[in-house]
């Protein structure tokens, strides 16, 4: 028995210049907000951008972007709809608001299916919002997407950074490209910059804690006007290399 879907995955992504996985060892560090805002900024700059929410069991980018009434178009596969200038793909088109528990093999099957039927077309950037940790999603993205680059998110907390350390170690052992680490929700002083440098990877910058960011969820235009977005814009230089 052969699963035919895997053979077309590389074809589906061959016209994408850069695939960036926004990842972390822990949940709640701001991956989805960073992935969404980063995608919006890149699209505003004129790049062709896609955003793929890979957090199948707990997706949230659809809320950040206020994706409603949108559906993929069927055309020899599925074509992600465009919102705020970016092509957007999420399992929420199909699961709607229902809870969807998935175990490892089921997660992989859903990912293979979406990678094999989604026609992204030409893109400069595909930003992937990853679920937390070093489980199925991380291993599958590395397995199926050659050349994926990881943008790792931490907070100043040593608890968050400890999981990031493990993620980075694993990525390095597997020879996966790491763009660097960004420190989100920064308050006061922390030693993250020094700790990142000890890992031998790039510290991309810090994003100060913004208590008002919650109010901007669901409004892409206002989100782009925040200090949060301004801080993210500063790390673009590392992505455009």
């Amino acid at each position: 028995m052969i699963d035919p879907r895997i053979s077309v995955i590389q074809d589906r992504i061959k016209s994408i210049e850069k695939i960036i996985a926004v990842s972390s060892g822990k949940g709640g560090v701001g991956k989805s907000l960073i992935a969404s805002t980063l995608s919006l900024i890149l699209a505003r700059k004129g790049y062709k951008v896609g955003l793929f929410d890979l957090d199948f069991t707990s997706p949230s980018t659809h809320l950040i972007l206020d994706v409603e009434e949108l559906e993929p178009v069927e055309d020899k596969g599925i074509i992600p709809p465009t919102i705020h200038g970016l092509k957007y793909m999420s399992i929420t088109y199909y699961s709607t608001g229902e809870a969807m528990p998935l175990r490892g093999n089921e997660f992989s099957n859903a990912l293979i299916e979406l990678l094999s039927i989604t026609r992204w077309g030409n893109l400069d950037f595909l930003i992937v919002d990853m679920p937390p940790g070093i489980g199925d999603a991380t291993l599958d993205i590395i397995r199926f997407i050659d050349g994926v680059k990881f943008l790792v998110v931490t907070t100043p907390s040593i608890l968050a950074f400890e999981t990031v350390r493990k993620l980075v170690k694993m990525l390095k052992e597997l020879g996966v490209s790491i763009l660097g680490v960004v420190e989100n929700m920064k308050t006061g002083t922390s030693s993250i910059r020094q700790e990142v440098s000890k890992l031998g990877i790039r510290f991309l910058g810090e994003i100060p804690y913004d208590p008002k960011i919650e109010e901007k969820i669901g409004n892409a235009y206002e989100l782009l006007e925040t200090n949060f977005a301004n801080s993210i814009e500063k790390i673009l230089v590392y992505l455009e290399d």
Partner: protein, 135 residues
């Protein structure tokens, strides 16, 4: 249609596998389709016919439907997926992505969404029959 994307993957896999296994002329390809995904067979067959390259000109594609068997991980109950009782939108969602069944299907015995799809999930190539390159 989504069937075209899957047909394309079948053609590509058949050609790659034949090359790897040293099959010169492919006579028959058996494909299994899980009932849960509700692929439109006619569209799928048309897609296969239109997408197949010259080297598969004489290849016969046999399609078999596999019943979708589910097993509850909590109570062990086994049952077959039936589309009756689900609305059009839910069936359409499962058609695109059988895993979203976990959002809508529950074990009929204990009500848990923690079940596994034992067989009949999506699409598989069951066998490729042909003649060796030197036959």
């Amino acid at each position: 249609m989504h069937e075209w994307a899957l047909a394309e993957s079948v053609i590509k896999t058949v050609i790659e596998t034949a090359k790897k296994e040293g099959i010169g002329r492919i006579i028959e390809v058996k494909i299994k389709i899980g009932e849960m995904q509700q692929l439109e067979h006619e569209i799928f067959k048309i897609a296969l016919t239109q997408l197949k390259p010259v080297e598969l000109r004489d290849t016969e594609f046999k399609i078999e439907v596999d019943k979708t068997k589910l097993r509850c991980r909590v109570c062990g109950h086994e049952w077959f997926f039936k589309k009756e009782g689900f609305g059009e939108e839910i069936l359409e969602a499962i058609h695109f992505l059988p895993e979203v069944s976990h959002a809508y299907v529950k074990c009929p015995k204990c009500g848990s969404p923690d079940f596994e799809i034992v067989s009949g999930r999506g699409i598989w190539i069951d066998s490729i029959r042909g003649l060796g390159e030197n036959d």
